[in-house]
Symmetry: C2
């Protein structure tokens, strides 16, 4: 790693550890997912063009296009998390108002911010679940010399998914519109169920190839 | 996140995704562990000094000292992984030699590099296992307002441990000194067994507190 990168990464970890609430778990979730996507891309890049893997080249080229798109979206999600958190804190910080209308307006802003702060980590969870599916393909078909990286990819993306899930839950719990909240929680459960079994399977595939 | 940090993080992810073998899964493992340690520290920092949590303040101050030390060691481990990988590649790249002595010297260098490349991720795995234990304490005793971050901490550290484990295995598999390799693999299995159950338990503790 270049010196400037190492320094910036160290500073990011300092900020994560600090008593400031952002960056926090939501940002860490998106970074885990983005690292997973990057490692899927790495395995594709080290497989494509190798004569031994010519039969899977077409499929891995498609995986690479998708993993690079997901990496971009997950990198963007790091900042989205901060914005959504700040909006919730900002709404709670509004004056409580003395009239019923004033109170209702504040409550409506809080509820709108909480919905956004549920949808942002849910989108992160969806993206991580996509990365997990791509990691499965690279674990099965990628270059054996870097197959351990496909296993790291799936673990990173799964940590991102499980982390994002906590942020969906914590915000959904305070939403009064239960139809909205329950719909999001149902989608989350479905993502977790499928991705959990794919992660276990993919990790075992990698382990079995390490000799 | 500051603009310079976001840019450096994006560049690191570009390097991770590229066809260059480092940074790779070993570096990602160390970063996951360091994010876990940073989030343990964050929960401690947002609990210490709060009147409501005065009873656990002493314990969380001790946790914070340990999580910050672990964060420093895991940040250093990112670079150690690159060095260990480069040493293995360098040894394999040595001329094969035409005499028995020349061949034996090259083999000895490869084997020494493989031992180092087993011990470096094993140390990363040990550090991640320590982070998991601290995340358990913060999930049980930390400020409820940021308890989801304790859950993200344990998931990140567990991804680091599971990822480092793959790098221990891949290098241990090529080591001829089986007493050395089997000793490392036994220690790894013990770490994985204990940390796996602590991770599940800790995540459930957090989930139950999210309401």
């Amino acid at each position: 790693m270049a010196e400037a990168q190492a320094q910036a990464l160290g500073e990011f970890l300092d900020d994560l550890a600090s008593e400031r609430p952002t960056p926090g778990g939501g940002g860490a979730a998106a970074i885990s997912g983005a690292m997973g996507a990057a490692l899927v891309s790495m395995v594709c890049n080290l497989t494509i063009g190798k004569p031994k893997y010519v039969e899977v080249e077409g499929e891995l080229k498609e995986v690479l296009v998708r993993s690079e798109r997901l990496r971009g979206e997950l990198t963007k999600a790091i900042g989205d998390d901060v914005k959504a958190f700040d909006a919730v804190m900002g709404a709670y910080g509004l004056p409580k108002g003395e009239t019923d209308e004033g109170k209702a307006a504040r409550t409506a802003k809080i509820q709108a911010a909480l919905k956004e702060a549920t949808d942002v980590p849910l989108e992160c969870a969806r993206l991580c679940a996509e990365v997990i599916k791509l990691a499965e393909v690279t674990a099965e078909k990628g270059n054996l010399n870097v197959i351990s990286d496909a296993g790291v990819a799936v673990q990173s993306a799964y940590a991102g998914l499980m982390s994002a899930a906590l942020n969906v839950r914590v915000n959904a719990a305070s939403i009064k519109d239960r139809e909205f909240a329950d719909g999001r929680l149902s989608e989350l459960e479905a993502l977790l169920g499928e991705a959990g079994s794919t992660t276990l399977k993919t990790y075992d595939v990698v382990k079995s190839k390490l000799g």
